[in-house]
């Protein structure tokens, strides 16, 4: 387990920013924390990175419990952070930015040289290594900020809205790089409010709106709201066909012309039985498709529920 929280809570005066957050992130997993602005995503990351204190609850990052200054230094050694504001030294070059952070992580000259060259080449910035970071485009700055968070080979990478404010091409480059890191078995804790991004790169997603509303794989979250549906297109819907499905005990059956929509819990088991019953009742099946609600629907439903 790389990150584990138990009823982690943070209050700012009377405002509760994060409320009893309990979650677990496995080694090598990309975990996405999805939520609207002000949901507590940044506060969660800041607590886990020991930048701000918790009000109550407990959390572990790697082998260390957050909460003491001694452990804070140990945790900061094993994590890399890409904050929502890239925060580069604009009057330093790309190389100088990386090299400075390498020194702060106590890397040797040889280690820094190797890491700086590796990441600048990997992210296509090697040719621009001696150019001031202040002259870079947003996408280049974001890539440099990611490289900066990786120069010390951290065990866990915390990324706060890494593609926010980027143009689609730059965002795609950053997402592809995150997927590269996944292939390298890096553990990544990704804050985002971009549903598409979460679905594309995350192994599991937690939906946060001060409280954790749901957690699961993108598929599990999609199914959790409306479940899955089987849509059967027939040549003709007859009473015999409808009765045969009702005899199977289907949970809900909706008819629209010659199209039937049935709620299913396990389509792999239920669909063959339904097709057999329809055929036995004299029906002719044209197509059978399985649909589920989108992550967007699941997200919106959970967020709205939490706000009521």
């Amino acid at each position: 387990m790389m990150v584990e929280t138990e009823n982690l809570t943070r209050k700012f005066g009377s405002l509760t920013a994060v409320d009893n957050l309990t979650l677990r992130v496995e080694k090598g997993e990309i975990f996405g924390l999805l939520g609207p602005n002000g949901a507590g995503k940044t506060t969660t990351v800041r607590m886990l990175c020991c930048l701000i204190s918790k009000t109550s609850g407990a959390a572990r990052v790697g082998d260390f419990e957050i909460g003491s200054e001694e452990n804070a230094l140990k945790i900061r050694k094993i994590i890399g952070v890409v904050p929502d504001n890239v925060g580069l030294y604009e009057s330093l070059t790309a190389y100088e930015n990386l090299d400075y952070y390498g020194t702060l992580y106590r890397r040797t000259d040889a280690q820094r040289k190797e890491a700086n060259e590796y990441f600048l080449k990997l992210l296509g910035l090697w040719e621009k290594r001696d150019v001031l970071a202040g002259t870079f485009s947003k996408g280049m700055k974001q890539k440099l900020a990611i490289a900066r968070a990786l120069v010390h080979d951290p065990e866990i990478l915390f990324m706060d809205e890494p593609t926010a404010n980027l143009d689609p091409e730059a965002a795609k480059t950053v997402r592809e790089f995150i997927l590269d890191l996944k292939r390298q078995k890096k553990t990544i804790f990704l804050n985002t409010h971009n549903l598409d991004e979460a679905q594309r790169v995350c192994d599991r997603i937690g939906i946060l709106n001060t409280k954790l509303m749901a957690v699961g794989t993108p598929d599990e979250l999609e199914r959790s709201v409306h479940g899955r549906k089987t849509v059967i297109q027939l040549q003709q819907v007859t009473d015999e066909v409808l009765n045969s499905l009702k005899k199977l005990g289907v949970r809900s059956l909706a008819r629209e012309g010659n199209k039937l929509t049935v709620d299913v819990a396990n389509p792999e088991e239920e669909n063959p039985d339904m097709v057999d019953a329809i055929v036995a009742a004299g029906g002719r099946v044209e197509t059978v498709t399985v649909t589920s609600s989108s992550l967007e629907e699941a997200y919106l439903k959970l967020v709205r529920e939490s706000e009521q």
């Binding site: 701000i52 900061r76 994590i79 504001n85 925060g87 030294y89 604009e90 400075y100 992580y105």
Partner: protein
Amino acid sequence: MTDWIPWKIARKELKVISRKRSIIFYNVGLPLIVAVAFSLEVKNLTTSGIPPNLSQAAESIIYLFVILATVLPSTIAAYSIVGEKIEKTLEPLLATPTTDGEILLGKGIAAFILPILSTWIAASIFMAATDYILRSAGLSYNYFPNWNAGVMLLLLAPLASVLSIEIAVIASSRVTDVRGANQIAGLMFIPFVVVFFLETQGIFTFNVGSLMIFALAVLILDAGLFFVSKSTFNREEILTKWK
């Protein structure tokens, strides 16, 4: 020294500062202008021979370099923290395994080096020019260097400079813009100006003994303020309250 984290932070700060023309001009140009202006003042004083109050005038001018050493570092010290806040570079820095003490010490070293070197170079130019002018006016020995100038420049000026830096760090942890921090830190020169006026009124005398006592008082203040500046530098407050 090269693997010492505060020194690494100081080297980065110096690199950033070296690319800020206004800071360089203020910290290098101003002391040189002061050195030349005071040298010309000594020249004016000696147009009709060696003045009887030469000792007091020359040492008052050397003391003004101590005041200069309190004014110069505040710009760099204030910029080094509020500047990070403005450029939003503080969060990634605070997420590294560096301690508050290392960060403050590194920034303090960077704010100390350039102003004190500039002060020493400018004072050396002034002393060399004064010796040349006084020799030309008939003085048979070199007036500078002397013990008073040595204590003022090598002991009092660095300690006063450190005091100014600490005040700037405390101020920049509380305000949100460089100018505000700089203005508060700039007020640090007032006690030193008061001492200057006491000296011109004959109430305080610049001699090795009184200067050593003054330096000791500043040293005690320096030590106390280091702990205050460390406790004022609150990571959480910086990240959650600074906008």
